[in-house]
Homo-oligomer: 449 residues x 2
Amino acid sequence: MALEITRALLKDVRNLVQAQNNTQLADFFTDVHHADIAEVLDELSFDEAVYIIRLLDSETTSEVLMDVDDDVREKILEQLTDKEIAEEIEELDTDDAADVIAELPEDRKQEVMQQIEDKEHAKEIVELLRYDENSAGGLMAKEMVKVNENWNVLTCVKEMRVQAEEVTRVHSIYVIDDDGKLKGRLSLKDLLMASTRAKIADVYIPRVDSVNVHDSAEDVANVMRKYDLEAIPVVDELGVLVGRITIDDIVDVIKEEAEKDYQLAAGITQDVDSDDSILDLTKARLPWLFLGLLGGIGAFLIMGKFEHTFEENAVLFFFTPLIAAMAGNVGVQSSAIIVQGLANDDVKGSIKSRLIKEMLLALLNGVVLALFLFVFVFVYEQDLMKALAISVSLVVVIVVAGLIGTFVPLFLDKRGIDPAIATGPFITTSNDIFGILIYFLIAQLILGF
Amino acid sequence: MALEITRALLKDVRNLVQAQNNTQLADFFTDVHHADIAEVLDELSFDEAVYIIRLLDSETTSEVLMDVDDDVREKILEQLTDKEIAEEIEELDTDDAADVIAELPEDRKQEVMQQIEDKEHAKEIVELLRYDENSAGGLMAKEMVKVNENWNVLTCVKEMRVQAEEVTRVHSIYVIDDDGKLKGRLSLKDLLMASTRAKIADVYIPRVDSVNVHDSAEDVANVMRKYDLEAIPVVDELGVLVGRITIDDIVDVIKEEAEKDYQLAAGITQDVDSDDSILDLTKARLPWLFLGLLGGIGAFLIMGKFEHTFEENAVLFFFTPLIAAMAGNVGVQSSAIIVQGLANDDVKGSIKSRLIKEMLLALLNGVVLALFLFVFVFVYEQDLMKALAISVSLVVVIVVAGLIGTFVPLFLDKRGIDPAIATGPFITTSNDIFGILIYFLIAQLILGF
């Protein structure tokens, strides 16, 4: 079914481009799915990719353009003329078209828009460009099937056949009143089963889920996932139907959101993948490493303050990597659970009850681990007080780390900041510093140095 | 649109249950979406939840059961009789029904299955129970609309009306031959627009994506996402159409897969969320913390071996948390990128080329960070050789950590083990130990102790 992209296949394509053998190239790509063509282009050089884009018809290449990697699309668009881009835009649905236009440099946007022949299409794209890309407005397309509640089923089917030409997947037929306000919906199945003489007002379902054009992409994703919707209408503040969001776009939102949280937890900012350049990867990774470096310097400074006790309590210093690791691990665990809960919108109850629960949990984990460590240190060092000091402070460090890991994302979320930045290196680093400080202070208290 | 679940609302519901005021309770839940009812039940006690399940009709409650948290469903099923569960099963689509049956204790499965009156439904559920829950067979439903290629459009529409009664969303109509083999598809839109006299064989689209019943859930998700599909037919080894998977189930697979990888990276095994009990959360978190503890003990033993040099080189010991943190962070960063790439099926090329790229990347990051650290140590300690020893070993530690972080998930993946277990504590812990060992060995080489 899918095209298997092998080295041999890529070599064949390269040779055909080299030889400018357009007939065989066109043959090769006939009946290949645009997503597969995009994968081939991702592996070729930009010049080769542009050559193939120019060769194939714009109905195919417009879809291919939506499927290639962002950086490949950017390079291809740079090579194409305003007219050529406008031709691709004509073939795309309004939501994809707006995404492509939004990626162009400011000075080219207007040039390309003016070359679009279908003025209605151009107007709709301009409307979509107004919305934030992470809002319902930024996700929706103008293509949908809508009918007036005053029509009958026959008029509706006729009108629908015209509208449906433009719409890849119909899903639902939205019913509006004379002011364009969303009243309800009809499924294709309902329409197929209804008598042609029936009035729409009598057969439509007057209840329909909808989102506001300014709702966040994440909220739209949560609503569609919760209610298992495959398409959702978008309304403005007056309740007027302005667009439609389909599940395929939401699948990408859900995936990107989860990947972004994961990447942030792993200390990677920006949306990079393993094929990006070393420079892009460095930009995404170095800032967090630098934060870790500063944390390490903090730990160094704290340990320096306790240097005087080394001769007597060397063993304390040898356990600092253990303390730092435990503080970091517990912090990441507790923050990850809160961040996921917040993303799924199922963190309920007060911050206080969360903190109490995490404290009990960290206490339980901490005591189990500390008991083990106590036995190890006591057997290895034959020193009850040192074993006690190290294990008691481990428990306190774990509890504090758990509380910080729980509190920080909840606090950020309340402030309207994405809590995902709190997982990973940020929590690890601050917990390293707090952990080592608490550890030495408690040990000092118990051992009296 | 959605029900806002407030404390006041929960209190009202509780009072109505307490007073056994069935009329008002039923009124309250009329026209409330099953996903919202499920959220209410998640917040109630099990007894209250069971009371409401028994009160509402099984058409509603069967859907509610699919939406409540896993542990709530388990408790409710425990309370219901075999007959009551069978009634819920009758209302569910085969895929959901099979999931519920699979969750029952072995001895109840057969009892419940025998109580199902619709023998055809029961037979289909038994068929689905054969498949692994993470395979296409485990995701698919038997409900779909299929027509024979030898029919005409009119027969097809008639037959379809009968079949469509059973199918919530039609998506595509699958065309089969006399042996039940999948030949192609028809969309509802095509059918609505075709003449009633046309033969199916003349109007259907002879190309249709399909998956094999034994393909993994992750592969199905990748295919549906790549080709933007909303439903995909499932065939067996003979090409016979055996079921259909819809995008709403795949959305859950994609989300769970991404969440699982994220949780593993954060050191959480098992699928837990913030509302789970302290015991369940401990089970998910403690093993990884224990691993971290062992790593810390490893670091302790290594540092103990170098104790003799403390008097001269105390500063070396104070930087061990920094070295451990950097080794851990770099390892997590590089493994996260590989794990995500593998999950999205876009890690191509040889392991060797990946390792060379990561080495260059880590070298670049390492040199930048080491330069900063060199200046800090030199200024703070006024000792060129120590500054040199610490920064040179930092570079080597970062490069080795990056290589381990890249190699381990690729190696696990080649061995057929989920590479996600390699991110998080596993990489952090091994990188901590290797990092500190390499650090002291290089410092020893440079400073000669």
